[in-house]
Amino acid sequence: MDFDLTEEQRLLQESVGKLIADEYDFEKRKAYAKEPAGYSAERWTHYAELGLLGLPFSERLGGSGGTPVETMIVMEAFGRGLVLEPYLATVILAGGLLRLAGSPAQQQQLIPEIAAGKLRLAFAYAERQSRYDLTDIAMTARAAGGSYVLSGQKGVVLHGDSADRLIVSARTAGGQRDAEGVSLFLVDPGAEGVSIQGYPTVDGLRAAEIGFRDVKLGPDALIGTKDQALPAISRAIDGAIAAVAAEAVGAMTAMHELTVEYLKTRKQFGVAIGSFQALQHRAVDMLVALEQARSMAYLATMMAESEDNAERRRMISAAKVQVGRSARFVGQQAIQLHGGIGMTAEYKAGHYFKRVSMIDTLFGDADHHLAIVARGGGLIDPI
């Protein structure tokens, strides 16, 4: 049992930290957000050069065979920088699905392209009625000869408007809420019948509502085993939860530092407001919430690729609860302790607050995951 980083992991942490410090200050981020895709094409290429886009993939596929710990290191730094690029959508979510479910040929074809920064992906899985239920899929993929015809709607597809390819979950058998009968397809967003409505999200990133009207797919569009995609989806989402937990920890750490610094410099009544006990104690409570979230982000990281499905699920859910609750508290208090300046769009604290608040809504919020853990009997088993 240890929480130590290896020498290589420490170097990665240093270099990503430096990357964010040098290339992702608040002013640069504003400029990146104005680019057509809503993020920096140059930064994306740079991530590829640094090997970040191939991090979780095997060396044989152009990656560096990193573990979830490497992903955690990158995501924590990205949280600090409020990074806009589609790392979560492309590398973690879609990349995770390809690693878990893709055929060797599909992996060989797509993953080196991701690692090289030439292929951006988005994962379209949620639907209006499904909320956070991964099994509730109304979208259908009808078999027609050896091919498929895709029909339905997907909602809040992260970076769905700039992706070169979409991975789409659809029902190939069973009823709308059955665990069996779900399949994954690789879809060209330019294909006939695909309509994409992109929009900015509250946290300054982008997403899309995507419609599929009788979209014809070839037999090679199927990713993984027909009807059996749900376990891979669930695992990929678990990996994504671990990743956004680390991102939230990075953002919360930065928000806490910003707040403590403000308490030390802002003067009222002739003294630094950090000399007031009411504010000191609030800043300590923020630290407690932050460290509890950090601990659970570590746990999520170490469980992210566990083969023990039940254990992985409940620990990931527990982490999501803690991160969501801590994020809400740390974010709200950061704004409160800053007073008026915290409310302004010009100041960074509000942007961190918005990002961590939106992270809570991704992949199931704290209430959703609390119910999952509770229904499963909690965390502490009889000895």
């Binding site: 049992m1 240890d2 929480f3 130590d4 980083l5 710990v69 403590v260 308490l263 030390k264 950090g274 000399s275 006990q277 504010l279 000191q280 104690h281 800043a283 300590v284 409570d285 630290l287 407690v288 460290e291 509890q292 979230a293 601990s295 659970m296 570590y298 746990l299 990281t301 170490m302 469980m303 620990m315 527990a318 609860v321 803690q322 609390l370 119910a371 853990v373 509770a374 229904r375 909690g378 965390l379 502490i380 009889p382 000895i383």
Partner: protein, 399 residues
């Protein structure tokens, strides 16, 4: 990063667990599970069992009876003991005065007191708080005036836990009233049988009398009972309070109490033919505490992991939250344990041990409400949670 314990650590855990299973007297275990008061003889008996095994003071240096275990092994031992559930060794000896004597005591003090602490031949209590000196401990007034080769001690200590059983008390006393308050304090070991020492119980709202007032009226204490140097007592007290950083989270205690809570929730009727465990709202309340506890356990493991590389001088933000969060979690569990029995929290049933009266309601209900009231102390003793926040604010946030 790796959450897994090594095969050696797992084997160690199994050994420790096996020993606790075999060696913990069932009647003591039953009292622990049911949350009933332990008598002096229960605590002494268990401590001597540990001492015979050589496990009375694992964290002490080997020459004074320590085991030489790694920080991970110490952690596992403590967690297993809490989950057994076995009584915690009386902290005033093994965790407080013992380490102070080891670090600052004379050779004679070490040879006399340390072996006696291991087997509770002396029952120690702690004389820090005074009626006018709670959070502002350094303002304490109990005085010790040097007369020849004795100190003459006058004053009053309070909240003295289990002083009614004590043979010895370690006290902070004022030896120099003329200097800055922290610089005139000494650390004195006082025999409770000395003429002029009076103990008066304080009954707390749960109906128990575990704390006391201790009065000192012209008490003669040999100079040989001074620990370290005169007027350096405040440093020793800070060392004492900072000595045990991970134990204060009491994660094992909370785990054991949550298991108990779930057992009772499975037994307790919830109306309409259901049991409390079927009530999703109640279950989510339990789960919310379990998640906080899991996070605290991970935070504690971070501290244990960092300690393997030697203790750093800089305070670790993770360790500083253990007391605050650990106490909040224990109190939340005590609340749910009272809530789970619903109306049967009401009957007041002081210790039924040795009584032939049948319990009112389910036999497990009696101690739950008193424990809820008693456990409010956890966020008060050892530096209240507000004082902990002051410390973190200053030492870690630099405010």
């Amino acid at each position: 990063m790796d959450l897994r314990f090594t095969p050696e650590e797992i084997a160690f855990r199994n050994d420790v667990r096996g020993f606790f299973r075999a060696a913990l007297p069932p009647e003591i275990r039953r009292k622990m599970v049911e949350g009933r008061h332990l008598g002096k003889q229960d605590i002494v008996r268990w401590q001597r069992i540990l001492n015979d095994k050589g496990w009375a003071v694992p964290h002490w240096p080997v020459e004074w009876g320590g085991t030489g275990w790694s920080s991970t092994q110490q952690y596992v031992f403590q967690e297993e003991m809490q989950q057994a559930p076995a009584p915690q060794p009386l902290p005033f000896g093994v965790n407080m005065v013992g380490p102070v004597i080891i670090a600052f005591g004379s050779e004679a003090q070490k040879h006399h007191y340390l072996p006696r602490i291991r087997g509770i031949e002396d029952w120690w209590c702690q004389g820090f708080s005074e009626p006018g000196s709670g959070s502002d401990l350094a303002s304490l007034k109990t005085s010790a005036k040097r007369v020849g080769d004795h100190y003459i001690v006058n004053g009053q200590k309070t909240w003295t836990t289990l002083a009614q059983h004590a043979d010895m008390i370690f006290c902070l006393v004022r030896t120099d009233p003329a200097v800055k308050k922290q610089e005139g304090i000494s650390f004195l070991l006082i025999d409770m049988k000395s003429p002029g020492v009076t103990v008066r119980p304080i009954v707390t709202m749960d109906g128990s009398a575990e704390v006391n007032e201790v009065f000192f009226d012209e008490v003669k204490v040999p100079v040989a009972n001074l620990v370290g140097e005169e007027n350096k007592g405040w440093d020793y007290a800070k060392y004492l309070l900072g000595h045990e950083r991970t134990g204060i989270a009491r994660v094992g205690v909370s785990k054991e109490r949550i298991r108990r809570l779930k057992e009772l929730a499975a037994l307790e009727p919830a109306g309409g033919g259901a049991r409390m465990i079927d009530d999703m709202r109640f279950r989510e309340k339990i789960t919310a505490v379990e998640i906080e506890l899991k996070a605290l356990e991970m935070t504690q493991l971070r501290v244990v992991s960092a300690e393997r590389h030697g203790r750093s001088k800089k305070p670790d933000p993770a360790s500083s939250i253990l007391k605050i969060k650990g106490s909040e979690i224990q109190q939340a569990i005590s609340e749910l344990l009272m809530d789970v029995v619903g109306p049967y929290a009401l009957p007041y049933q002081p210790d039924l041990d040795g009584s032939n009266e049948p319990p009112i309601g389910p036999d497990y209900a009696g101690p739950l409400a008193p424990t809820y009231f008693n456990w409010r102390k956890i966020s008060i003793y050892g530096g209240s949670n507000e004082i902990q926040r002051n410390i973190i604010s200053k030492a870690i946030l630099g405010l």
